[in-house]
Amino acid sequence: MTTKIYVPRDSSALSMGAEKVAVAIALEAKKRGLDITIIRNGSRGLYWLETMVEVATDQGRVAYGPVKAKDVPSLFDADFLNAKNHPLSLGLTEEIEWLKKQQRLTFARVGITDPVSLDDYIAHDGYKGLKKALTLSGAEIVKAVTDSGLRGRGGAAFPTGIKWNTVLGCQADQKYIVCNADEGDSGTFSDRMIMEDDPFVLIEGMTIAGVAVGATQGYIYLRSEYPHALKALNEAIAKAEAAGYLGDKICGSTHTFNLEVRRAAGAYVCGEETSLLESLEGKRGLVRFKPPLPAIEGLFGKPTVVNNVISLATVPIILDKGAQYYADYGMGRSRGTLPIQLAGNLKHGGLVELAFGITLRELLYDYGGGSATGKPIRAVQVGGPLGAFLPESQFDTPLDYEAFSNIWAVVGHGGIVAFDDTVDMAKMARYAFEFCAIESCGKCTPCRIGSTRGVEVIDKIIAGKDTAKNIKLVRDLSDTMLNGSLCALGGMTPYPVLSAMNHFPEDFGIAK
């Protein structure tokens, strides 16, 4: 009987040598005349344990990691095919504490299935949400999404159901569903994981959105930095089309939905929804004035739903299990779960999906295991390059949109980047302005000019020139950018800058 062995094809796992491990396992098994089948699954998200190899046994899947290609002969010698012990043994995968404590809804299948196997997807509850949606009216589907409390996971946290309802209410000969897969925030990788490790869930979510609002064409606007995601998405789309889950008369219904992946080209600002639409239309990614809202006049001037990957990938489970099931997770007005990404200077970086409400401290130490360098964690940036830096005194803040807003910070996409005590916060503030200058679309003056002037003023502060006067200048400049920018790029760059100055003044040469 053949033994199933799982070796991830996720790009982070590949970045630690997963391909070489898979090849070594295949060669070693052949040499020893052993009958094995290697399945290239997604990653479980315990990235410090990649490459994590799993073996299917009667008791469940048993994990070994981090495995290097050179460890493979010794794993066979130790009879890992029969789950025997080895220095890299991690026991039953589902019993690993880090994984066991999580509440995986959006990521329910990630790391478990073969990402591009439609059969595997369906065997693990895939397409149940779409089948349910096909029995409902558009308004009923939108109501389920509204009742679930799902808010945009891209950063602005706008209620998804309200967006959909606007598009549903529009009369038009053509409507579109656009997935914003231009995840460019440092410290975030949950979109990448969904697209590489469970692409069908995104396809299903977009199809449900199309059925709900009457859109027949969808586009996934994907970062050019994610070549593996491109491959996985295109493989999955082809399989969904062949099986009647995309195209005309999906699942034998009267609905049509076509889907295409479009590649972005390395412009951070195209993560802003109107810039993204301009780019999809073949133009420079300049931000549009709002109104009109994209929901009313979006892609090619037609009503368009623009949602982030995680928002769309969360829709299938809401339709399958019901709005209440999802809303029962979370706290306050932050309902459901958030795929949190632990990154930067942490011992255990990876993907943690939990209900809203867990504190930063629990994430950093219980999950993250403290800093990778062993030094104290001094600052944490949450929500990407436009997110605030939080000092240790704020680590007990629960992950909740309103709680973060109260301390002038943002949850954003749920990316958490930790820095140890060697970090220079004046340099980080300078970098925030520099990043804004590199990535500004140039349409509005506060962002275009403000970011460049910001770098210059911070340089003076770092050089110790007229510190008090220049600190005041940065505050004035930040005020203009906050209130005068057209979009979040210029409008939120002051978050990292001012939070660094407010919480770590000593790094700017001013008294604490």
């Binding site: 790009s11 982070s12 590949l14 970045s15 630690m16 990235y47 410090w48 990649e50 995840e183 460019g184 925030d185 440092s186 410290g187 975030t188 990788f189 979109d191 990448r192 970062r223 050019s224 930095e225 994610y226 070549p227 593996h228 479009r262 590649r263 972005a264 080209a265 390395g266 412009a267 951070y268 780019s279 999809l280 239309e281 073949g282 133009k283 420079r284 990614g285 090619f300 990404q341 632990l342 990154a343 930067g344 200077n345 942490l346 970086g349 993907l351 990778a372 940036q381 390059p385 990316g415 980047v417 930790a418 140890d420 970090v423 980080m428 970098y431 990043f435 590199i438 990535e439 679309c441």
Partner: protein
């Protein structure tokens, strides 16, 4: 003569790519990607041909090509090395890695080594933040990259 042959060859390849993409809604971005994938960069000499096919001015095509970091207007080296400069990688020492790469390759960002082996580029997040610092060589990502790992990658690219 050599140049003319090259130009004819280029025009033919461009023509094929243009006819393959020009009917797509919002065709310019997919077309530019196809050109760069096929030729290695987007030659400035292609702007008028693209513009004619898509009813755009040369200035509009130029504006789009130069707006996006991904598109290049000059031929790159045989390999493209991208080093992540974003916060997560900074927290794990990417600045030292950048300096090391520039010194070893004797180039700055957007430049190609004298042996034409490697073009060095900056990138802002490869989505490998749990395994910072990260580097991408052509289309493969590498995690927790040390100076020694970088040297090995460079040696492999030059082999």
């Amino acid at each position: 003569m050599q140049d003319l042959e090259t130009k004819q060859d280029l025009d033919l390849r461009l023509g094929a790519l243009i006819s393959e993409h020009q009917h797509m809604p919002g065709a310019l971005m997919p077309l530019l990607h196809a050109i760069q994938d096929n030729i290695g960069y987007v030659p400035e000499s292609s702007y008028s041909q693209i513009g004619k096919a898509l009813s755009l001015s040369v200035a509009e095509v130029h504006g789009v090509v130069t707006f996006y970091h991904h598109f290049r207007t000059h031929k790159p080296g045989r390999h493209v090395m991208q080093i992540c400069r974003a916060e997560s990688c900074q927290s794990m020492g990417s600045e030292a890695l950048e300096a090391h790469a520039k010194k070893c390759l004797n180039v700055d960002y957007h430049q190609t080594t004298s042996d034409d082996a490697i073009t060095l580029e900056a990138v802002y997040c490869l989505g490998n933040c749990a395994l910072s610092p990260a580097v991408m060589m052509d289309e493969e990502v590498y995690g927790r990259v040390s100076a020694e790992d970088l040297d090995a990658l460079i040696a492999e690219a030059r082999a």
